[in-house]
Symmetry: C2
Subunit: 211 residues, 2 copies
């Protein structure tokens, strides 16, 4: 029994070894720099062994992506935000999300752009009802519900707003990552303007524009 457990622990350790090697290669050389053979060399095993712990390269990539993605999701659900006004929470949540994403750029972009079913399980956010089952989106959705508490905004519009804010933020993050040379000042200007200004325009502007 106990020997069985040790074996399983060893398997987990080996998986962990492979994943962290992959992770470090990605952060050194980018996503395209990752190869099975490089992982093997880094962990000092033969390439083939990797296929005893993962089915293929994509499975490894999915795992690395999920790790990076989870870090970011937790930034949005951070408890430090409780107590403040919903608008303030919204602003901070947005900024936290952007900052967290910029810290793990390659994994984040990969996760968000992957069309693999495994990745979409976590990243998909546009389907009807997504705001109730996707943790990151749910935080945003709750925030909007608080903001619209005393208005007669219907649930569908709130969900759509949450979804659109989420993808908008993603667009900003991706562009900032790609245009790596815009400079820190301009980057901060954009992030501040977006989270402190644009996002509030979106939630407040809903009173002046009814379709």
């Amino acid at each position: 029994m106990t020997i069985e457990k040790r074996r399983q622990r060893e398997i987990e350790e080996m998986k962990e070894l492979i994943l962290s090697a992959a992770s470090s290669i990605i952060s050194d050389e980018g996503l395209d720099g990752l190869s099975i053979r490089k992982i093997a060399k880094k962990i000092e095993y033969s390439p083939s062994i990797i296929y005893h712990y993962f089915n293929d390269k994509e499975e490894i990539l999915n795992n690395v992506m999920q790790r990076g993605y989870k870090k970011i999701v937790s930034a949005v659900s951070s408890k430090e935000l409780a107590g403040t006004s919903p608008e303030e929470r919204l602003v901070k949540m947005t900024k936290n999300y952007i900052m967290a994403a910029l810290k793990v750029p390659d994994e984040f972009i990969a996760a968000q752009l992957s069309k693999s079913e495994e990745a979409l399980k976590h990243t998909s956010s546009l389907f009807k009802g997504a705001s109730k089952v996707k943790p990151a989106l749910y935080s945003l959705y709750q925030c909007l519900q608080d903001i619209y508490k005393n208005t007669h905004m219907d649930e569908d519009s709130i969900e759509l707003t949450a979804q659109v804010i989420a993808v908008s933020t993603l667009g900003l993050i991706i562009k900032i990552m790609v245009e790596k040379d815009i400079g820190e000042e301009q980057r901060n200007r954009l992030i501040d303007f977006y989270s402190e200004d644009i996002v509030l325009r979106i939630v407040n502007g809903s009173r002046s524009s009814n379709k």
Copy 2:
């Protein structure tokens, strides 16, 4: 003289042949499906010859990307929009942009995500002053200037707003492309809501939220 010109025309034709083969492979098998050897087979030449017309695969990719990207840019500058109110123009421009982008998905995503200098020459939009030198962004910027004509909104804020709207829209486009299975109905709901509602909230909400 005339023979020289013919030669150069032939070179252009060969480049064209290579690029359109590449383009068709991409639209058949996606970006990852593209390989030099496949292009060679398609144009019925040996793989090596391609390197007489292009330096490497990336140069080919850059060319294909630019073509797709230009189609989309022209959708925003379309003249059919003249005469209408600036708000209406903004809504239509946004929708045109999204629709055009969804028609050439792979090239578009590739262009927007490429960190190559060549691609960034066209796609970069976040640097200070971008709205005056980037055609697609300039159309948006002009539109905002019209909308804010009689307010005392400073130029910097208008530029930032244009930039943020551009990247937001990009985020929506990318997510719709990645989440290919959300269904036509939900897709249209999102696009309509975004372009007819959210974008107007952004430009109109600026009066109610001053930082």
